[in-house]
Subunit: 293 residues, 2 copies
Amino acid sequence: MKSVILPEQEKAYHLALKTALESGFNILQAGGTSLDAVVAAVECLEDSPLFNAGRGAVFTNDGKHEMDAAVMVGNSRAAGAVASVTGVRNPIRLARAVMEHSEHVFLAGAGAEQFARNHAIAFEPEDYFFTRQRYDQWQEAMREGVVQLDHRDDKKFGTVGAVALDTTGNIAAATSTGGMTNKRYGRIGDSPVIGAGTWADNATCAVSCTGHGEYFIRAVAAYDVACLMEYKGMTLRQACETVVMHKLKPVGGEGGLIAVDRHGIPVLIFNSEGMYRGWQTSPGAPNTAIYGD
Amino acid sequence: MKSVILPEQEKAYHLALKTALESGFNILQAGGTSLDAVVAAVECLEDSPLFNAGRGAVFTNDGKHEMDAAVMVGNSRAAGAVASVTGVRNPIRLARAVMEHSEHVFLAGAGAEQFARNHAIAFEPEDYFFTRQRYDQWQEAMREGVVQLDHRDDKKFGTVGAVALDTTGNIAAATSTGGMTNKRYGRIGDSPVIGAGTWADNATCAVSCTGHGEYFIRAVAAYDVACLMEYKGMTLRQACETVVMHKLKPVGGEGGLIAVDRHGIPVLIFNSEGMYRGWQTSPGAPNTAIYGD
């Protein structure tokens, strides 16, 4: 059963995915870097109210939006990540600034916001992040006293991510999320955890995950894909299937991931009902999808 | 050259390590769990002013103490972690509470402190965390405008950790730290990052790391040890040597780790001048050491 989504909503999702794909692909086609491409694609998705990241981030228990993001580059394995940041328009841009302009990898909370201000990262007022759908989800979660994954009704996760290979052979991954509806206690999910939700190493692959973060953290999901390739000799597809279908699924770790290796063959895999996704190879037309094949 | 440490300081370190070892070992010998043992040992070290965790945590840029900790258990791969918590007497106890009493793995900042208060975790006033040595280190770092690893002068890291195997064959790992002297921007190191600074899985090993956290995060150091065992068939010692000596050291990732597998053979390894450490097997006398052999 393909639940809840109306045809016009579906169309909007496909369009948003296509726009993000194009923004990244145009950069790659012009000879730009995979880092620029994944950040541009994720920024597009953060700017859309449809996804649980940036503008469309879910509400926390106290009615705020605490966002996590990470980026990693395959040649240097340089990485930047932020957790629990509020008011930042594009958390992925902040993660990139951490990678490029700090001696650290992982910043959180008010400290990360201070770093953002010192590096001219754009902030938005509270109402920028208001979306009716997320507000209603939060109110319902509050009434029921639960913390919930952003997707709940529609069974497709809202965390956004991008992976890319550029013309120099360098790969990159980026992930951004608002986390779980009605979350509290400063909960951090897998997205900003290097190795869990985000990974890139030219020796193996670039990976960005979405799903029930606690399971992905405890599985070190993204780096596990890389290890299965490097140490067991699996192909990217075999490694992704092993992690998503044979390791995460049996223990209840609902979700999926997108990945690419240095040959540029994308893998998009999930054990949930669907996963909003898109891919484009050169040459080739942009592809977008929501449900399983 | 064995720098800086005076004989009476050395004695104090050995004594503190022995006390922590005993507190954990007594639990194991009485048939207690590896989880209880590693938490007890780490609590001992947190309560000592000698180490960079709990009471002896380093000063942040704004003169506070922001602490990180994590714990993981090998049979269930249950895990709990906290980052950037202030005023908590034993961050490892809080990490355990997150594992046992929340649906999350990773909490940070004020939210994590709220969770602590809701679960009767002990807090201490600011002056509890004051130590002259750490204060002087901070003042010096401030004057020079640098962020620095806690060890700097003495070349031995101050993050604390414990790993253990219990009589039921279950392993566990725990790590606790104050991070880097003069740190700001809510910097999170590897200690609370599951897979980077802390890992436990009965199929392979329990690992607790200390060192330059940014490198350990980007290397997913602790889980890499496990993957080298599981996917490449290495022994625990081979895997630890590969990660610490052949992967981290060449890129400047100074530090070390302690690890144990289900056979109970401990591995303690570092690429720095020294690492305060202790180990005890059954039967056997407690061992403590600071420098390389």
